[in-house]
Amino acid sequence: MIERLFEPAWAGGWAWMRRCWALAALACVLPRFGSVEDAYAASDMIFSRGPWFLADHVVLGPAAVYGLLAGCALCLVAVARGGWLFVPCLVLFLLMNWTVLSAEALSIKGSDRLLTQTGLVLLFSPARERDLRNAWRSETARWFLLVVYMALYGSTGWLKLLKEPAWWSGKVLANHLVHPWFGSRPLGVWVSAQPWLTIPMSWITVLAEALFPVLVLFRRTNPWILALLAGMHLGILLLMDLWRFSLVSVAGYPVLLHPGIAREIQLRWQAWRQSRRGSEDRPAPGVAGVGIPDAPGRSFLASTGRGGYPTAAASRTRARRPSHLPRRNRCPRRTPSDASPEPRATSPRARWWTPSTARSRSSARS
C-alpha cells in the first residue's frame, strides 16, 4: 500500500502547472505596481501584524518595493520556463513576495496563502524539469498537493455544511453576490435575485467542496469533480470580484487531474496538432504505439496503460486496450526480462518516433 504512494506516474501535468502557477502569480504581482506608494511603501500608513513584524524593524521605500516586485516578475518568468533556474527563482520569488506582503501586513489574502503553499509543493516536485512529456515521476509531490487542496476545499465545504444551514436555501450565496467589495458585479447582482439559480449553485458548491477530498482520489470521479470546481471558479470569476483566488486555485488542476487522464489528454492534443500539421515524417512523441507508421489508424489509447504508461502488453497492435490490463495508474516494475523482448529506441533521450525505430520494432516482432 505504502509502496504505491511512491510509484511513478506521468509527470507532464507538472509542466502545465508550472506555467499556470507562474501566470497566476504574475497576475497577483503585477497589480501591486500600482499600489506601491499608497500601500506597500506608504510613508503614513505603516502597520505590522503578527507574524509580519517587518515594519517594526525596517520601513521599505518605494524604490525597494519596485525593485522587489520587478524581481518577483523576473523570477516568475524563469519559473515558467523551468530548468536549473527554477528552484532558486522560486525560492527568491517566495522570499521577495512575502517581504512585500509583510511590508503591507494587513491585506494578505487567501490567494497569497494558497500561492505560497502550492509554491512550496512545486519546490519539491518534478516541475523544474523542462521536458516532462515523456517522464514518469514519483507521485509524492502530487500527494502533498492533494493534501493542500483537500484541506482547502474540504474544510471550506464542511464548515459551510456544519455551521451554516442557510447555505441550503441559497440565501448565503445571494448575499455574497451583493457584497460591496467581493460582489456587486452586474451579472452577480442579477443572479442574486434568482433563487432558481442561487439554490442549485449553493448546493453544487457545498457538495462539490465537501466531497472533493474523497472524489478526487478515484480515477472515475476525479475529472468530474475537478470540472465541477473549475466551473465554480469560473462562476466566481464572472459573478464576483475574486479573480486572484480563482486563478491561483485552478493553477494546480493539471496535477490534481489523474495522471492517466492527463496523459490521454496530452496525447490527444499532440495527435490533433500532428494531424493539423499533416506531417507524416514527424510522428508523435516517443511513446510506444503513438504515430507508428506501420500501424495506421491505431488509437493512441491502445498504446498506453491506465496511467498512460507504455506497457509492454499495450504496445501490441490492436485497436483497444483489453480489459484485463491493470486499471490503476502505476508503472509496472520493470525487470530486464520484462524489457528485453520489447525493443525501444536506442537513445534514451529520443523524443520522437522515427521510421527507423518503427522498422526495428516491426523486425523484432517478426
Binding site: F6, T140, S155, T156, E164, P180, R244
Partner: protein, 190 residues
C-alpha cells in the same frame, strides 16, 4: 525528493522516490495533514475560546485555515470620514485618498471581510489613529480634526449595495485631532 534513473531500454524517463527518503515523505504528509485537521477543528470550534496553541500563536492557524464565505452576513458595513474646517464637517472621499483596493475592499477595511474576525481594522484604536493622521496628511487642505464612522444597512439581493440608503445606521468609530503625534510600528512617529 526524487532521483532520476533512465532505463536505456525505455523511452520514458522514470524515477521513484528513493527508499531512504520515503519515511521522511510519509512523516511530512502526516504532519501537513495533521496541521490542516487542527486548523479545521479550530475553525469549527469558533466562536468558542481558541485552543491553547491557537491562543499562543493565533497566526499559526490563520495560514492553514480556509474558513471563508461560510456564514450568512446580511449587513453591509462601510467606513466613512468627515473633516472639520472652521467648525463645519465636510465629507472626506476616503476611497480617493486611499485608492488601493483588494478583493476585500480598501486597506482601512482590512479584517472586516474576515468573518468573525477578532481584529477588524476599525476596532483597533491605534490603527484608527494612524488612519486619522494619514487622512489629515493626504487631504489637500489640512483640517483641524477628522472623525470616522461606520454605516450599516441590510443587503438586498438583486440590488448593488454601494450607496447607503437613508435609513442606514450610523455609528461613530473614532475622532482624531490633526497634529497629534502618532506612533507607528517600531517606534516611528508621524
Amino acid at each position: 525528493m526524487a532521483t532520476t534513473a533512465r532505463n536505456p531500454l525505455d523511452h520514458a524517463s522514470v524515477s521513484r522516490t528513493p527508499s531512504r527518503l520515503r519515511p521522511l515523505a510519509l512523516v511530512g504528509l502526516a504532519l501537513l495533514a495533521g496541521y490542516y485537521v487542527a486548523c479545521f477543528r479550530e475553525a469549527l470550534g469558533k466562536p468558542a475560546p481558541p485552543a491553547p496553541w491557537a491562543r499562543q500563536w493565533p497566526w499559526l492557524g490563520w495560514f492553514g485555515s480556509w474558513d471563508f464565505f461560510t456564514r450568512l452576513d446580511e449587513r453591509v458595513t462601510i467606513i466613512g470620514a468627515e473633516a472639520r474646517y472652521d467648525g463645519g464637517w465636510t465629507r472626506v472621499p476616503l476611497e480617493d485618498l486611499f485608492p488601493t483596493r483588494w478583493d476585500s475592499g480598501p486597506r482601512y477595511h482590512a479584517g472586516y471581510a474576515r468573518e468573525r474576525s477578532s481584529s477588524p481594522f476599525f476596532l483597533d484604536s491605534e490603527r484608527m489613529k494612524v488612519l486619522g493622521a494619514a487622512t489629515c496628511g493626504r487631504l489637500p487642505e489640512p483640517p483641524t480634526e477628522v472623525r470616522f464612522f461606520q454605516l450599516t444597512w441590510k443587503r438586498r439581493p438583486g440590488t448593488a449595495s454601494h450607496d447607503p440608503p437613508r435609513n442606514a445606521r450610523r455609528s461613530e468609530l473614532s475622532r482624531f485631532v490633526c497634529g497629534t503625534p502618532v506612533h507607528l510600528p517600531g517606534g516611528w512617529r508621524l
